[in-house]
Symmetry: C3
Subunit: 217 residues, 3 copies
């Protein structure tokens, strides 16, 4: 099931560097990087063939390579999804990537192009749909369902049987209790605690922090 085809990275920033490091540690060959520019971290990993236009992907046969969607996920940014959709229509396959330090139950379903970063956990009975990032140290408990094109940011914790619909962005360190549904395209802010179902297209804010100068408490 697991492919060893060489890969083309689309994107050249910090997320791309993290993915490239994981791929190289797993002896995958990176044929080229397609991005306006390459980050310093990515360059530190080696000297990659570099193209600057998305159309350059078409230089490589869709049965000879796998693509890696190496664009970072940010709220309101549609580029990651557009890239995935375009090249799927053109017959390409996206690599599903799991860092060796991630802990993924053998009884989990990972869709095409899912990226599971360092120290992330996905427990038994969970499923993650295509083009979603489970980012560093995120923890997804048993029987969760995560939709397509989501970003589960670093340090997010989900208890069991959580249902995350397509296009959701859970920001850094958000917590979700069990049996909750988060509607599609909803954005949950940094460190927010979700204890109730959320509708589609919602924005969820945590309480703001208060900032004082030291010595003036």
């Amino acid at each position: 099931m697991k492919s060893n085809k060489p890969v083309i990275l689309i994107g050249g920033g910090g997320h791309a560097a993290g993915l490239a490091e994981i791929l190289l540690q797993q002896d995958r060959k990176i044929l080229a990087v397609v991005a306006p520019e390459l980050s310093k971290s990515l360059q530190s990993l080696g000297s990659f063939e570099h193209y600057t236009s998305d159309d350059d992907v078409l230089r490589f046969g869709n049965d000879e390579v796998e693509l890696v969607n190496a664009i970072g996920a940010m709220p309101y940014q549609v580029l990651r999804k557009a890239i995935f959709t375009r090249f799927k229509e053109q017959g390409y396959q996206f690599a599903t990537i799991v860092a060796h330090s991630a802990i993924v139950s053998p009884n989990v379903l990972l869709g095409e192009g899912v990226q599971v970063m360092h120290n992330a956990v996905i427990c038994i009975g969970s499923a993650v749909k295509e083009n979603t990032i489970i980012n560093t140290s995120a923890s997804i408990d048993h029987d969760c369902s995560i939709g397509a094109n989501c970003h589960i940011a670093p340090g997010v914790t989900m208890s069991g049987q959580v249902n995350i619909e397509d296009g959701v962005h859970l920001a850094t360190g958000a917590n979700i209790i069990n049996n909750v549904t988060v509607g599609k395209n909803t954005i949950v802010s940094v460190g927010a605690s979700v204890t109730t179902d959320l509708p589609d297209e919602a924005l969820v804010f945590a309480a703001r922090v208060a900032i004082k100068e030291q010595g003036k408490l």
Copy 2:
């Protein structure tokens, strides 16, 4: 010290599936599951002998098997404790379970029936009393004391020398600073930050999140 007796699972939901997967990965034999019904995740692991009444546990000699309290922990639910108490009185032993991906110092004391799930950490000098769950990705630092019948939910972080008394429920992603005591049966809500001692039987709420529709910020 570690037993290799076959086990009987009491409980058949998502927590049971997570425990069963860990036990099978550690080559423990699951003789039977006692539960009203078996979750899909649990069934995906194999075909288990299935009994539906707690009394069915008595079919198995108390020196021939170990029990696994596979009922999930929820606030206000007394079933986990009642099961543990009943079958201890009837001479049974409960298995202490540590996932292979958990990081538990050799200088930690785990009571009977403690369950340490994936990616959880317990540091030097800490002790966890009987029938407590240290759930997925929870992190317990040095010299903490965790009472009996507690649930330390996924993603909870404790700094050093925290004292958690019996029956406490720390919900998903709660944070506790060092040198704090949480009184018995207290419930700390999702993502709450505890910076002070808490009395017995308290309920601790974090700030609520604010929900807005997108485009109406």
Copy 3:
């Protein structure tokens, strides 16, 4: 690059015990502990030569041993930095310590005396300056810059490209989004969510929790 010289621990509390356990697991020899007293956890690891005055460090040649700054980090406490500064001036080297369960990219720079505790993650392109603690289960994503004499407490999560200046204390479970700068000596409280740049010398509080007695909701 990695030294195998025997070490002298300065400090004898819970943080010292955690470090000593890691060092012994890595077959480093602990020649002596310099501290007013030794915690029970530290004593459980063996019988250490024990001195009580910082001046006792001078009994050991600065080319024969490495020092370990085993004093725990607390807000407003200057002792950790003073110890580091004094003995650097006297020509000693401080050991850089990485727990075997930590996940540190090979493309990360760790300064002298940095301590990376259990289950912590540091991703590609990040750098941590001297005498800083990356504590248990903290997660630092790609391309972060962490200054000297910082304490990144247990369970802190940082997304990518975060810039933490010298002397910062991020308390248990704090979350920092990407591309944020935290000014020097700033203290971020337990579980706070940082979404904006913070000035030097600031105190950042999270929302307080509300405590109620059970049955009086």
